[in-house]
Amino acid sequence: MNLLNNDAMRLMETSLKAATTRHNTIANNIANADTPGFKAERTVFKHQLAEATGNQLQAYRTDEKHINFGGSNSNESPVITKRNNTAYNHNGNNVDMDHEMAELAKNQIYYNAMIERLNSRFSGIRTALGSGR
C-alpha cells in the first residue's frame, strides 16, 4: 500500500481545494451583494452537476445483481457555475445573503473537518513509524 500517494489522500486534497474555491466564490458573492446586475456563483463538482441534470456516466451491467458504479472522481477539480435565471433584487442582483452566510459557515466546518481527517491520518502514519504521540 502506498503510504502517502493513495486515493484517500488525493480525495482529501481535492476536497480541500474545492473548499478553498468555494470560499472564494462565496466571498465574491458577498462582496458583490450591492452590485447591480451581478449574478451569484456556486462551486460544484462535475459529478454533482451530472447528478442534477441526470446524465451521469454509469457502468454497463450485464446482470442487475452486479454492483453499480460510476467513474472515479478522486482527483476531479471543481467547476464554478453562475445562476443566471433569477433576480433577487430590482437591480438584477441575485445574491441571497442568508444563503451565502449559511454556505460560508457550512464550508468552514467542512474545511476544518477535512483538515481534522488529514491530521488523524498523518498521526496514524507517525504511530506506524514508531514516533507516535
Binding site: A27, N32, T35, M97, Y111, F122
Partner: protein
Amino acid sequence: MFHGMNVSASALTSQRLRMDVTSANMANAESTRGRLVDGEWEPYRRKMVHMQTNGEQSFRNHFLQAQQAETNGVKISRIMEDQTPFRLAYQPEHPDANEDGYVELPNVDPLKEMMDLMSATRSYEANVTTLDAQKSMLMRALEIGR
C-alpha cells in the same frame, strides 16, 4: 492563496467609501453653496456611489473566468450626482435667497441616507465575517501534519 482575502478587502474598501459618501451627504444637508456655476452658487447635490465587479472586461479576464473562474471582488466605478430638483424653502433673510425670498436647499433626504448607511454597515459586517472565516481556514491549514 490570499485571493479570498483580497476579494473581501475590496468589498470592505467599497463599503467604507459608500459610508464616506453618505457622511458627506449628511454633513452637507444644508449647504447652499456647493459649487460655483457661471458665477452663481448652486446648492450641494446628493452624491451616490455606483458599484461594479472588479477587473477590466478584457479577453484574458473572460478566458480566465470561463476556465478557472477567477473571482474578482468589487469596486466603486464612479460617484454620481442625484439629479432630483433642489428643495425650496421660504427664507427672505437668507443671503442666497432669490428675489421671491426662496432659498434652494440641497436634495439630500436624511431618510435615504440613513437607509444607505445601514445597508453599507450590514454589508461591511458580512464581509468582515467572510474575512474572519478565510483567516481561520488559513490558520487551520497551517496546522496540517502537526
